[in-house]
Assembly symmetry: D3
Homo-oligomer: 334 residues x 6
Amino acid sequence: MAKKLVTFGEVMMRLSPPGYLKFSQANSFELVYGGGEANVAISCAYLGMKAAHMTRFPDNAIGRAATQFLRKNWLSTDQIIYGDNKLGMYFLEKGAVHRPSVVVYEREGSAFSLIEPGMINWKEVLEGADWFHWTGITPAISDGAAICLLEAIKTANKMGIMVSGDINSRKNMWKYGKTMQEVMPKLVQHCDIVITSPRGIHEMFGLGEIGGKFKDSAKELMDAYPRIKNVVGKKRKSISASEQEIQGRIWNGTEYIKTETFEISHVIDRVGTGDAFAAGLIYGLLHYDDDLDALNFASAACALKHTILGDVNMATLDNVTSLMGGDTSGALKR
Amino acid sequence: MAKKLVTFGEVMMRLSPPGYLKFSQANSFELVYGGGEANVAISCAYLGMKAAHMTRFPDNAIGRAATQFLRKNWLSTDQIIYGDNKLGMYFLEKGAVHRPSVVVYEREGSAFSLIEPGMINWKEVLEGADWFHWTGITPAISDGAAICLLEAIKTANKMGIMVSGDINSRKNMWKYGKTMQEVMPKLVQHCDIVITSPRGIHEMFGLGEIGGKFKDSAKELMDAYPRIKNVVGKKRKSISASEQEIQGRIWNGTEYIKTETFEISHVIDRVGTGDAFAAGLIYGLLHYDDDLDALNFASAACALKHTILGDVNMATLDNVTSLMGGDTSGALKR
Amino acid sequence: MAKKLVTFGEVMMRLSPPGYLKFSQANSFELVYGGGEANVAISCAYLGMKAAHMTRFPDNAIGRAATQFLRKNWLSTDQIIYGDNKLGMYFLEKGAVHRPSVVVYEREGSAFSLIEPGMINWKEVLEGADWFHWTGITPAISDGAAICLLEAIKTANKMGIMVSGDINSRKNMWKYGKTMQEVMPKLVQHCDIVITSPRGIHEMFGLGEIGGKFKDSAKELMDAYPRIKNVVGKKRKSISASEQEIQGRIWNGTEYIKTETFEISHVIDRVGTGDAFAAGLIYGLLHYDDDLDALNFASAACALKHTILGDVNMATLDNVTSLMGGDTSGALKR
Amino acid sequence: MAKKLVTFGEVMMRLSPPGYLKFSQANSFELVYGGGEANVAISCAYLGMKAAHMTRFPDNAIGRAATQFLRKNWLSTDQIIYGDNKLGMYFLEKGAVHRPSVVVYEREGSAFSLIEPGMINWKEVLEGADWFHWTGITPAISDGAAICLLEAIKTANKMGIMVSGDINSRKNMWKYGKTMQEVMPKLVQHCDIVITSPRGIHEMFGLGEIGGKFKDSAKELMDAYPRIKNVVGKKRKSISASEQEIQGRIWNGTEYIKTETFEISHVIDRVGTGDAFAAGLIYGLLHYDDDLDALNFASAACALKHTILGDVNMATLDNVTSLMGGDTSGALKR
Amino acid sequence: MAKKLVTFGEVMMRLSPPGYLKFSQANSFELVYGGGEANVAISCAYLGMKAAHMTRFPDNAIGRAATQFLRKNWLSTDQIIYGDNKLGMYFLEKGAVHRPSVVVYEREGSAFSLIEPGMINWKEVLEGADWFHWTGITPAISDGAAICLLEAIKTANKMGIMVSGDINSRKNMWKYGKTMQEVMPKLVQHCDIVITSPRGIHEMFGLGEIGGKFKDSAKELMDAYPRIKNVVGKKRKSISASEQEIQGRIWNGTEYIKTETFEISHVIDRVGTGDAFAAGLIYGLLHYDDDLDALNFASAACALKHTILGDVNMATLDNVTSLMGGDTSGALKR
Amino acid sequence: MAKKLVTFGEVMMRLSPPGYLKFSQANSFELVYGGGEANVAISCAYLGMKAAHMTRFPDNAIGRAATQFLRKNWLSTDQIIYGDNKLGMYFLEKGAVHRPSVVVYEREGSAFSLIEPGMINWKEVLEGADWFHWTGITPAISDGAAICLLEAIKTANKMGIMVSGDINSRKNMWKYGKTMQEVMPKLVQHCDIVITSPRGIHEMFGLGEIGGKFKDSAKELMDAYPRIKNVVGKKRKSISASEQEIQGRIWNGTEYIKTETFEISHVIDRVGTGDAFAAGLIYGLLHYDDDLDALNFASAACALKHTILGDVNMATLDNVTSLMGGDTSGALKR
């Protein structure tokens, strides 16, 4: 039977000028929805897992349209709650070659940011789940969001559900009075799998060094938080906005493992590639015995996301296993 | 030489599903910008006047794109100020026949709403202007906006610039602690021309009756605020979302004048038709000696706006004078 | 708690040139999905009911995309079965004024038409349902489809679930060796509510007259099939492809009731308006005590569908109750 | 065997903003091609006739694309000649209700206008034709075009091919040194069928009166040019840009015949409706014995064109005969 | 005088999501038509040859639209026959980098597959032709199609028309009871030019080896079928879906010739590149004395097709000769 | 305070098929406007300078739409003059890899080409300017344009405004009776900065050699025209239509300086990249003391333009300085 993932976090409306147009050239916006955690849930659903995303949407026609996007992309949505009247959104101008993509956020005061402790019955939401995943964006949004997240993690722990966190967070997001150094440790101590980088480990926990070796930082983190079984990272080389290289790495407490480098020569959409990696990792760890296989699955999923428009990875299981098996030919399927 | 109009108010990004699609069907949004006062300025610019709009935009790529929309539509934009990071926006689902259009606002916390007294040098902004126009939306947005507006009106009075206000306001917009009953009188007392309705006059000033005669309410208003020279109204009959009827009416202190009824049999975009009326009125009063001519001009402009997509009236002077002259044939121009 | 509807039938891909383009002008097709029964389920879901649609899709990327359309439009889809490789489709060229719309079908050999008895566990599918709805298209598609439908109706009868049939059928659809005269009586005898016309009653059952009075034909049908509680009809006047009139009528065994006439002056999409009527009838009979209210609800829903692109009615409960309450103004909702 | 029509004239690129956008709102243009005479040829081809259009296109990629448009729309194109480098074009902003459509031409110096006597082998081009049709636009373009046209008409006369002319012409088009009063009589004297109006007859030939009765003017014209067998007219009432009425009329030397009035309540594209009338007339006169039938066919074809985007009528024979038979319902064809 | 090519085979509607969207993201399909043999005819037409394609389309609006596509792309279409009601179609989801393109066919029961011996008058259709071309897809579709093809080839032989076959065929296409091993030899024995690969030669004729040398397999094939003058192949390296390499090779009975490798660094549309190669080969063999020139022409044409959207190569003669002359710069032409 | 640039030249409507479609595939054109000199002005405006463009547009709706495009892109437009009725235009079919882009011009007889001496008050237009820029296209258009340009340059000289000319010109453009050899020296002698190549220097002035060294040709030019302070060039290598390399070079009278090579691996739009270089040079020379910095700025701006659709460079100051500082990563900006 299909494994089930539950995620929790904000979902934003994403508005982007068609193709490579700049904001100043746009007379229309392409409309999708995305958010780090929901992206992971949807990616896993396209791989064949069951998935539900927990969030809070405004109680209006815009909020319902956002739910419909999640439903279309195979998520369970019955548990979603509604209230207030603002959906967070972000504007994306897609770059190319030397021209960077530009993202402008308008997410303050969103229905999700106004979530309050107790609004969610986590026991019900997590019922039947095999895995719970969160990211470092959620606790940065508001105190309410951070507390709800902690409730979720603790409930998952009690219910014997695996917990993974993609914990990197941008400092300038934390505006509600708490710092990431204050909040993250409380969340991470209950996690089984952590996706991060030496920079993240140093900034959030004061461990390792910013430019240090992945393995060393990972070890320090696992010493400090013994529940963690794997510290996972993704090394990206941005040759240009149109060419990227990806390599997965993992410290599982005994071994330091790296994948081959995946070269994406013609990027179509870079957004959400980290989430595709996380989703691939969850799928991989749930379905492969070998950590390298799981990591290769994650990296291949991440590489494939670069060729798919929107925030979410719609690669099929077959796409990912082909690529992780070394077939980079992209040859036509009839 | 062309007469010059200055307006002041919020400009929002307007996002609407293409054609008659509902929000739930949209995969893209058509993008224009609009706001009651800027709509008036642009409409007057298309009629051949000079026009500048004063507003405050976020200091980012989205704010600059909004300015570019105003520039394209002939407005002066050098005076616009920038700050903070949010542009107000609204979503519009266009209705048809019995199905109403739906508007969802996300404007709280916008750069404009955070405007503060003293941010604008009104003497400079109003330099060379013949007319200043405002609407009842601006004072409802925030205390800062209301105070800035009062500064503008008083400065205009001092500089001998005509002041018109399209003063109707929606009660549920007033969320910052003041009521319209408290704020509007201070603004209206300095106005030369007021566009409103018996309902508005009653709700805001406690004068006349909601269902009363236009002329009676108008008289009471002019008695209370003797600076007012004309009280102008627009009677709309909504046969359906696709068919509308418009008739202008004016009380000029001595005469009660009404236009013929303009029947719009195939509505293309209803939004901004009131602003087109206001713009037509300003143009009309500045260019015609006769009040009925001015009112006919306003009503014809309003009727034409119903056939133009977006918030603003792009009808030409020739379009308006033809229609006010009775040519309803819409016959092809080569 | 929300009432639940289950429907059963083929869902086709609908491909139509944008706007009013003819097939010979199209370089792209707009893509939605539709089918008489699924249209009813979705319409009820937009009104707030729970709804599931049972069908069979090809086991490929196209079949999965069809499922995603149903999910997006609020249906439960877990019960859908997959097999074979063809999705039925139809091409729609939208007409205007005197120019008729044109429909071309390519549905022979579809996965749905290859459905076989026993493929569906109806007890499971109908679990929790309050209502089961079918149309006269399904038994015309194939023997397998007709038998599966009969299984469904009988199971519904056993489980105490209301059964409605929109039974009109096009003779030229019956190509698999059985006639409608042979098949329909077996299905109709288990129905509680029947939507049809004097022509249908005559053609399928040899009762009444083609041009006879609705009430007389309805009476004869109810005499012959005593389980039927209501015979319901919809009278359409096609003034042109762009203007339609709709009036509902019902014979409930004791009374003959008609609604006012709903005039749709600017048709946007005529397809699926009959399904919107059926959905409105189901909702109405489940939520109103009075037959005229239910019928008015059905007719208002039908009228509103004419203004919505695609096969399905996305009108909200509020839209329908407003219109059935006599508000034809289509006035803007903020 | 299908009858064959040959036409001669300029074909322009038509660029129009999508939908009802104004020029100032357009970021793209919809692209079709059109010209009075080619429109007639294509319309006849859609009705089932054989048709060839003779023109001259620039000898470049744009000229070849124009030819491809004609080919797609069923015309023979082997006879077309190429030279020079400019394709005439026109910009069309579509109006609605009281807002007129706007047309801006850029056709001076086009490859067609540079056509010279002797460039066309009319015997070859007219081989197998049953009918030759021209309009009053062609002789207005250039002396070369006028002379080539006269060659064509004379050759047709010799070959026993019927000649029709839709002779109205706009005075301000005649810029090459000759007047229409000078040129038109030489062309019209060789014509069998003439489409015109009292105004046209007066302006071009000094006969009848501008506001005179159709029958009287027609008689005078036939007296002056005895080859003419029918003088045909089309009366249009422009209620608004969105609503039109059409009525055909004919003077056949013995009888004055008028059709019923065709009301087009929702105009989609007015351009080319006169050409659709001419095409319908040619088809009608070739296929019906009765003049009223032919005229009804012409008027119905004209009415249907109002619902089709672009310059050309793509109505089918079935569409036209249905409408001329009185079926205005536009009811769906499956 | 231009040489004339005749081709025979099915033409399908091709529906593809815009750009790089996946099926699950598409709300519209881009519409073109294609089929291996028609693609060759059109490609030759764009190079300046005369070309006609023989096929059978459904006798409805969709079939006629397909014919119009062929006409637009310069083909003669008068010979096409019509019957039944289904047009074959295929859905194409375009891949990128490691993500493969996906093709889903819905072609069973198409009008073409129902073609029957004797329906085509091949003497008439081949009148004036210099070359007849077919592919291995046609005999796989149905017995009728295979027999009609054999009639065509034999007629061509009698009329002294060159016959080429692009004979590779997919085993899983042969569903009507015959195998390719049974059918292909009867067709190939009458061919002058064969395009295939060692794998094809082995699978269809049991000659050579799957992984064998091209020259060896080609020799064996020519020994077995002495009418064959050239065995031609195209070696493709799929670096990724976005990068391809192409090299032509030929065995002409005395020499084994290979071209340089053409590197396509940014693929726009891979579909139909094999047909572009075949068209280039036909053009090359008809217009160049030297086999290497002909092969280079074919390979350059194939390379250029990768940059053109749709099934057909619209490269100009100038494009191909430039590239075969070594100019890979793609420098702007004014 | 921001420096101000004034430019003078024709602005054309640019019509291009969407994406990579060929002319034969287009059913719509994307619409922007462009012209060598206006492109420079707009590019400088996006970098933060003040800029005005002087031109002459037709006095109709199309001319006004062109002005609106310039306004939107930050230019001052009050000085623009209107007359006649034709806007020059060009059609652009975008190439890829080995397939060249194709440009077709229709600019003869444009309103700009009919400009006459004395129509422009250059003292007023150049008021407040720091720099005047022209290109070799303008004097090739008409005698009137050439004379107006000379007036501008001389006025600029008198007013102490820097003058730069991007002087390369295509011989086949000079159709009005004068040659470039005759006209260019009169213009160049008043210039401070010249952008050209050894080929240009040889063709226009008979100096140096076509294939000569840049430095040598530049020296000869500066000897002949001592006002010139810098001769600047841009070396382009066209690997394919999709890959380009750019390197700037300058001779400043004492030093010969070259930049690094900028590699653009995924070209989006090549048109206007030379203008982006010129704009970058003007900005660079005005804001950097060091010639290499200025040249690097120019080359980076040029490289970035390759990734922006349309004629004009919309890169921000931050984009250019990042790239000139060596950051080629195109990493996302939030």
